[in-house]
Every structure is written in structure tokens, then in C-alpha cells.
Symmetry: D2
Subunit: 101 residues, 4 copies
């Protein structure tokens, strides 16, 4: 299962990197394979370990804020493994060229 999430603290100023760093530290220590992008974080693993990691991040940011908006998008495909790497490669193979990634 592959999941993208992002957490947006509401009412805490315009620069959010302090809060994002707090969440990414949790992700980095989770042991899950992940990819950090400018618009969110992509996790790969089982449902329970992914969702408990996201909840830890959500709760950690809510400690510092009155309000948090968290978005989660799951792509759950039976029998799919190594999806973070495989999904990008399969599109590049079709196009016969490297993409910016």
C-alpha cells in the first residue's frame, strides 16, 4: 500500500517548515520506506503501520496548534510491492525517457 499525506497547521503563520520538520522526524524514525516531496510525504507499507505513523505526526503537530487539516490519499492495489519505485519506472519505460523526479 502506498499513501501520500500532508498536514497543514492552521493559524500558525505562513512558514510551516518547523511543523513539517517535526512530522518528518517521526516518519524518518518509523522505519517505513518513504519519499518526502515539496507537497507531501509518500509512505509505503501496511495499513496499520502507515496509519499509526500518520496519527503520530498529526498529534505531534496538534500539540502546537489549535487546528490542523490533514489530507491522506491511499492507493491500495492487491499484490503490489515496491510501489514507490515501480510506479515511476513503469511510466519512464513506456515513454522511453527519464523524467524529472
Amino acid at each position: 500500500m502506498i499513501v501520500e499525506f500532508s498536514i497543514l497547521p492552521v493559524g500558525k503563520g505562513v512558514s510551516l517548515s518547523e511543523h513539517v520538520a517535526k512530522a518528518l522526524d517521526i516518519v524518518d524514525q518509523s522505519g517505513l520506506r518513504y519519499q518526502f516531496t515539496p507537497m507531501g510525504t509518500i509512505l509505503e507499507g501496511g495499513y496499520d503501520e502507515i496509519m499509526s505513523t500518520i496519527k503520530k505526526c498529526h498529534d505531534a503537530i496538534l500539540e502546537d496548534c489549535e487546528r490542523v487539516v490533514t489530507t491522506i490519499k491511499m492507493d491500495d492495489r492487491k499484490g503490489s510491492e515496491d510501489a514507490i519505485k515501480r510506479k515511476v519506472e513503469s511510466v519512464e519505460r513506456r515513454l522511453g525517457k527519464d523524467l524529472q523526479k
Copy 2:
């Protein structure tokens, strides 16, 4: 806490109402306050009961499909209650008019 979610079965034809109905039956029997819209379902309640209801819906649809894309958006504001009703009313009050809802 107020959460919107939608579940999209991939590769199961263009009309999805059969799958959506299966999920909505689970939501309707959960006892949670909810609002069903043309683009998703809004739930109100605690984190655990909301997330376990969404997981039940996700798993029920995955029984019939090879692949499911589920999107979840949480709006978590400390001390907020009755948010499904209150959020809409507070905007209508500011505008001094009724909106289509």
C-alpha cells in the same frame, strides 16, 4: 473532528454507485453523524471511530476490486463540536443570506 472521505474503485467500470452504496450502508449503520454529498461523505466524531468506519468501507470495497484509491481529509479543531452544522451556519450568518446546501 470532522472528516471527509471518498473511495474510488479502479478498473470496475464507469458507474460506481453500487460500490458507493456498499460504503454508505456501513456509514449509515455506524451511528456517526454524517452528510452524504455528490463528491464524498462527511463524518463527525472522534478520531478512532471515524477512522475505523472508513477502514471498514475501504476493506468492503476492496473485496470487489483489485485496486482502490481512498482520499481522507480531516479538519481537527480543538474544542469544536457540532461542526457539520456550525461551519455552514457561521458562513451564512456572515453573508446574511441562505446558501444552496
Copy 3:
């Protein structure tokens, strides 16, 4: 075409109804069929009129803020009309019961 969107001002305090009201006034005067929900606004119409209405809302809120996060989800199905009403009814018909909406 049916589109849900929401606009989140970043760094403008915890209560956002003032900004949401500004956007909803634009939507209400657009002439488009719409539905205002606690988590976003659903519009029905053609691509160009929908996207220009959303851009007006985005720009109006950006006048008051340094940073805005806008989410748009389009469901574009060929030959589909009256989708705001029809999508909900078709699920209710399958279930043989009324849902909270």
C-alpha cells in the same frame, strides 16, 4: 462536470469563516449550480466557467493573505448532467433508503 473545491488561507488565524464567506459570495453570484458543505463547495457546469469562478475565489482570498492552499477535485464524466442531484439519488435508490444529506 462536477467539481469540489476548498480554499485554505494559511497564517490568518484559526477561524476561517470570514474568508470562506468572501468566496461563497462569489460562488453564489456566479449563476452556477452549487452545494456548500462543511468541507468544501461543489460546483456543476462547464470546465471554463467552473475554473474561472474558482480562480476568482482564490484571488479574492489571496488579497487578504500571504499564502493560500486551494484543493480542486473534478469528476468529469461524458454526457453526465444534473450530477449534483443524480449521484446522491442513485445511491439512495440502490440502498432503498434515505441518507443524511
Copy 4:
């Protein structure tokens, strides 16, 4: 402005890389700075050039399908430039370590 989008063809089978490749070829030829991820594509540039590129992708995929669900998330911050690179670096600097990206 930095925008993430993804386009999901509905009812066209479980493997979507053929459709994704069609869209990425359009993005790659647009001249916009972009980042292709396992969950979507991130674009950086002005509103009009970004939105016209996304519309071209949406229309190209709709040529082959009856129904398409397209999600767009814009992060619009005044005076922000080089955001694809800068947003990730600023979190890494805070944490004092490299992240998986």
C-alpha cells in the same frame, strides 16, 4: 506557485501507467519545472501556464476514457520562488539531516 495534480481514469482497468505516460509526456514538453512522484506530478510556474498544462493532460486522458477524476492542489505563496527545491531543503536544514526524496 507550486501545484500537485493527479489524473485517474475511471473504468479503464487496474494498470494506469499508459494513461499517466500520456500526461507526463505533455508535462515534460511544457517547459515547466516539474517533479514526477509515485502519487502525482508537482509543477512550478505561473497560474495560467500550470492550469493550461493540467487541462491539456486532463483532455488527453479523457479522449481514451468515459470518466476521469482529476485532483489539483495549489500552494500559492506570495513572492515564493524555486519552491520545489527550497521547501524540501528548508525542512532538511531544520532537522540537520538528509531525508529520503
